[in-house]
């Protein structure tokens, strides 16, 4: 860069007084698809094995982020904070214990450098492989993805009689524990514009990248082992014992689901969805 800059400077000085050309960051276009591979049976903390038959979510504006230069450790300079003693301890502690890294994808350190604009009703189970469009990504090292929730409406192709209408997510599935099986449905509304920030997405995008990006819902958090349905006692909700429940009718359960679905760990962008 330095040699090139020096050469450019000499050229500027000798041949072309004024401005030399600016240069936008190189961009590539990558296909984004719904990736159903994330939909696997989940075992909740209460022991229920949950299998989803249908799961639809209204999302919009997928953004791809880089942690940039805010993510590595390595403190070498002596710091003194509130006295030399505590500083020395802090420094020693930092030297012995591995430093945590800034979480990619947050507004802090999560610069958006790629995007797939648009509004989508995604069926994580049925639409596997369906194209959401072509995303534009600036060349760079990606660490996260964001997207916004929406409320389904007629503009999304959702009719008023559809259970998803006016909602964000609809689940249909079964929960099995021991010999008991409960069929369930659930509809969950999020605030319009509520954002998922920091879904894992690891890819070093270069000008020759041709990856297909797969957007996944993960009923089980791959990092912590938690599930979307943790805390939901399907049997207790099946008060009439008919083996079918509508989870949203119980406010506590609805809030559990709403909060769980706001957690970025239940989403993933797989950079190799094209195989």
């Amino acid at each position: 860069m330095l040699t090139r800059a020096l050469a450019s400077s000499l050229t500027i000085a000798c041949l072309a007084p004024g401005c030399s050309g600016s240069q936008e960051a190189p961009r590539v276009t990558l296909a984004v698809v719904v990736d159903g591979r994330g939909i696997q049976e989940a075992t909740t903390d209460l022991g229920w094995r949950v299998q989803l038959a249908s799961c639809r979510t209204v999302i919009r504006d997928v953004e791809f982020t880089t942690a940039g230069e805010f993510h590595d450790g390595g403190t070498t300079a002596l710091l003194v904070r509130e006295g030399l003693g505590s500083s020395a301890l802090a420094w020693l502690s930092g030297a012995i214990v591995a430093n945590a890294r800034a979480h990619p994808g947050h507004a802090a350190g999560g610069d958006i450098i790629g995007e797939l604009p648009g509004r989508f009703v995604v069926d994580w189970c049925a639409d596997a492989g369906q194209s959401l469009g072509d995303a534009t990504l600036t060349v760079g090292d990606y660490n996260g993805a964001n997207f916004f929730f929406g409320l389904a409406g007629e503009n999304d192709g959702i009719e008023p009689e559809d259970p998803l209408f006016g909602q964000t997510t609809e689940f249909v599935g079964t929960a099995v524990k021991d010999a008991q099986t409960v069929a369930f449905t659930a509809v969950v509304a999020q605030d319009e514009g509520r954002e998922i920030v920091g879904a894992p997405f690891e890819l070093d995008v270069t000008t020759t990248s041709a990856n297909t990006l797969g957007l996944q819902l993960l009923p089980t958090d791959p990092f912590e082992g938690d599930t979307v349905f943790d805390g939901v006692d399907f049997a207790a909700l099946d008060e009439d014992g008919d083996g079918a429940v509508a989870l949203e009718l119980d406010e506590t359960t609805l809030n559990l689901l709403r909060r769980a679905l706001q957690d970025h760990d239940y989403y993933l962008v797989d950079p190799d969805a094209g195989g």
């Binding site: 860069m1 330095l2 090139r4 800059a5 020096l6 450019s8 400077s9 000499l10 500027i12 000085a13 072309a16 007084p17 004024g18 401005c19 030399s20 050309g21 600016s22 240069q23 936008e24 960051a25 190189p26 961009r27 504006d61 953004e63 880089t66 940039g68 230069e69 805010f70 993510h71 590595d72 450790g73 390595g74 403190t75 070498t76 300079a77 002596l78 710091l79 003194v80 904070r81 509130e82 430093n99 945590a100 890294r101 800034a102 979480h103 947050h106 507004a107 802090a108 350190g109 610069d111 958006i112 450098i113 790629g114 995007e115 604009p117 534009t136 600036t138 060349v139 760079g140 920030v197």
Partner: protein, 721 residues
């Protein structure tokens, strides 16, 4: 040496009036001779420290009001130390304000994305110092950087300094000297005020510029005043600017007077300054909007975004010599108000009300600086002192709509902050050819912050308190192995205090502990810097210097204003070199060229540090003829610069000229900026914006730029009364 210079000057121009002693306080005055052996030792040591660079006396026609100028400059203690004198300042092109005078500093790049009145963005030694984050600036010893400014940490606004009363600019690159404190990671720049003998008198000036610029100046600095640093000046300026929303106006006044001088009590100097300004804030344009013709090169998206600035400053300096001991005290106080309404992103964040941002920053501060210099033994001088400054700050930031009504309150802080520094060191001159200076300073910061919005919205408004301290060792050497050679080495630790907002950084985000974010707690950012250099003066008219430097930052703390979380940026290192050649073929001609090369990288990723110019090359020539003619030319060549996320800013070459002629009581001045009338991008940025809502919204960064001025002409007339 000063006396010798004066004699030399007299020989060169026998009919000129005798020169006044150089006004550098580091120079021992002739009327204060050594009285005993210890004092002689001290005199020798101090004289060595203040040795002038060479025969630089010159003459001007006394009838035209010029007299001998003795350009006294103490020997540099580091390879990159530099002093820019009043004569150069008076002839330099583009001297609209003191901000512009920073362009005289080799290796410094300025970028203005507002109008004249807003602080410029500074780049130096591989640092994008933003509005002053990593460059320490003082005025007559008074810190100008604003700790915890809502617009940017260390914000610098130099527009209140009237250029005609700047008698010297002292530049110390890197954090190598004991005096250098908070923000001096890239270096320190000191403005010293006064009116040198040839330019003293009472004068009125009027300047008319092609941008419909009117500037009037009244400067009163009578020769009969005993202290040549004394003056009174008032400046008024109005400028429509070279493009949309770039108008600016200001009223500035400065006075520096010697209140008292006696051998018993020492010398008391009073500095008073007042400043009032408002200015447009055009922001930056998307490059694609200009390329498609939607906007002109000098247009702006908004016509309602503006800034206002107010400052009152008073300083009282006391210098006392007792035997060989020199005591220097400075007490000061200032009031400051800054208000900005800006919009850099259009409707990206708020598609309905827009992203205009109102920032208000108001503070009152008092400070005190104490220095003592005392010879301990032959060739050994003790330097010690301390600084203290207390600021009471009231700051807020709101999102506002087109009528500037509040849409969202983001920050409202009440801050009390203390800055305290103690320093001690030794200057040792073991021989005539050697200087070793070593010492340590300890900088302490204390914050007391009330989060008004936090109290209202979350019942958690504090007060939040934090204190931190950092020791900074400094070491430098200078050797003269041969008569015309000087070799320099230096090491120093630089520092930047966190802003007060970092103290109230959110304790958690989305239910997660802030502990997982490295840099979660506010702390002082440090840099470790080294420099090796040499100066060679093969002939009395030629001087050339070269230096290599390196700066390493391991734990830069950045407060993210969006998330309210402190972040730690990855480690960086800046390696570079500087080369300068100065030629003075005649006493009235000076030519110089300065080349700065910097390789600034993040250590782990190897990515370039955004914004930092890898190549900056400045060539200038000055002429100060006894016939009353002055002229200056400066060619600046900036290489392409890396921008965030892989974008690249353009380079440019820019030529500015100035000329002046004084006959009798009348002086005419001409300044021509951008002589070749090139379209150049003074500032370039890579970020997302959405101004035209008919276009699809995109959050991907795009190139933006702030246009540099086109060909601009200013014609000035000065009448000496």
């Amino acid at each position: 040496m000063v006396v010798a210079q004066a004699l030399l000057a007299l020989l060169l121009c026998a009919d000129a009036p005798a020169p006044a002693p150089a006004e550098d306080e580091r120079v021992l005055p002739a009327e204060d001779p050594p009285e005993n052996a210890l004092r002689e030792i001290a005199a020798r040591a101090l004289a060595e420290l203040t040795r002038a660079d060479g025969p630089v006396g010159e003459c001007h026609d006394d009838e035209r009001g010029y007299s001998t100028i003795v350009r006294s400059q103490r020997s540099p203690r580091t390879a990159s130390e530099e002093v820019i004198d009043a004569q150069t300042i008076s002839a330099t092109p583009r001297r609209r304000s003191a901000d512009d005078l920073l362009r005289l500093v080799p290796g410094v790049l300025l970028s203005q994305h507002g109008a004249e009145g807003k602080g410029s963005q500074l780049f130096m030694r591989g640092f994008d110092a933003a509005h002053g984050t990593d460059v320490e600036v003082t005025l007559a010893g008074i810190p100008v950087n604003e700790l915890s400014n809502i617009h940017g940490q260390g914000y610098l606004d130099l527009n209140f300094i009237i250029p005609e009363v700047v008698r010297r600019i002292e530049v110390q690159k890197g954090p190598y000297q004991l005096e250098q404190g908070n923000f001096a990671n890239a270096g320190s720049i000191g403005f010293e005020l006064g009116v040198p003998e040839p330019l003293r008198g009472t004068r009125v000036s009027y300047e008319l510029g092609s941008t419909i610029r009117h500037r009037a100046l009244l400067l009163h600095a009578p020769r009969v005043w005993p202290n040549k640093r004394s003056f009174m000046a008032v400046e008024a300026m109005h400028d429509r600017g070279f493009g949309q929303n770039r108008s600016a106006r200001r009223l500035s006044s400065m006075a520096q007077v010697q209140l008292h001088k006696s051998k018993q009590l020492g010398q008391f100097d009073l500095l008073v300054a007042g400043y009032l300004a408002d200015f447009g804030a055009p922001g930056a344009l998307r490059a694609d909007d200009v390329e498609t013709g939607e906007l002109g090169f000098y247009d702006a998206y908004r016509d309602d975004t503006r800034g206002a600035s107010l400052r009152g400053l008073v300083g009282l300096r006391h210098v006392l010599r007792r035997g060989t001991t020199r005591v220097d005290q400075l007490a000061y106080g200032q009031y400051r108000y800054l208000q900005l309404v800006e919009d850099f992103t259009g409707y990206l964040l708020d598609p309905v009300d827009g992203d205009r941002r109102l920032q208000k920053h108001e503070f009152g501060g008092v400070g005190y600086r104490f220095r003592v210099t005392r010879p301990l033994t032959e060739g050994l001088v003790l330097v010690a002192g301390f600084n203290w400054q207390f600021d009471r700050v009231d700051q807020l930031e709101h999102q506002v709509d087109a009528e500037h009504r509040t849409v969202d309150e983001r920050w409202d802080l009440d801050i009390a902050q203390h800055q305290l520094a103690a320093l001690a060191g030794l200057r040792w001159l073991p021989a005539d050819w050697a200087l070793i200076e070593a010492g340590v300073r300890a900088d302490m910061f204390y914050y007391w912050v009330v989060d008004v919005l936090g109290a209202l919205e979350r019942g958690a408004g504090g007060p939040f308190k934090d204190a931190m301290i950092l020791p900074s060792p400094r070491l430098l050497t200078r050797f003269r192995p041969a008569e015309r050679w000087s070799i320099f080495t230096a090491y120093g630790r630089g520092l930047r205090a966190p802003e007060a907002r970092a103290v109230v950084a959110q304790a958690s985000s989305e239910g997660e502990s802030v502990d997982q974010y490295r840099g979660g707690e506010p702390r002082i950012t440090t840099s470790d810097a080294v420099e090796l250099g040499a100066r060679w003066e093969p002939h009395e008219v030629v001087s050339t210097g070269a230096s290599a430097f390196g700066t390493w930052i391991g734990n830069e703390l950045v407060f993210d204003h969006v998330s309210g979380i402190n972040l730690e940026r990855s480690r960086t290192r800046r390696l570079g070199g500087e080369l300068d050649v100065r030629v003075r073929p005649a006493p009235w001609v000076e030519l110089r060229t300065d080349l700065t090369l910097v390789h600034a990288r993040f250590v782990e990723s190897g990515a370039s540090v955004p914004g930092a110019p890898p190549v900056l090359w400045t060539t200038s020539g000055y002429l100060f003829h006894r016939a009353g003619v002055r002229a200056g030319a400066r060619l600046v060549v900036l290489g392409p610069r890396p921008l965030p996320q892989g974008a690249r800013a353009s380079g440019y070459a820019l030529l500015d000229l100035s000329a002046g002629y004084r006959v009798g009581r009348l002086q005419l001045d001409l300044q021509v900026d951008n002589v070749l009338n090139r379209r150049w991008k003074e500032g370039e940025y890579n970020y997302a914006s959405w101004f035209n809502r008919d276009d699809p919204r995109s959050a991907i960064p795009a190139l933006h730029f702030a246009a540099g001025p086109p060909l601009t002409v200013r014609l000035g007339a000065t009448l000496w009364l």
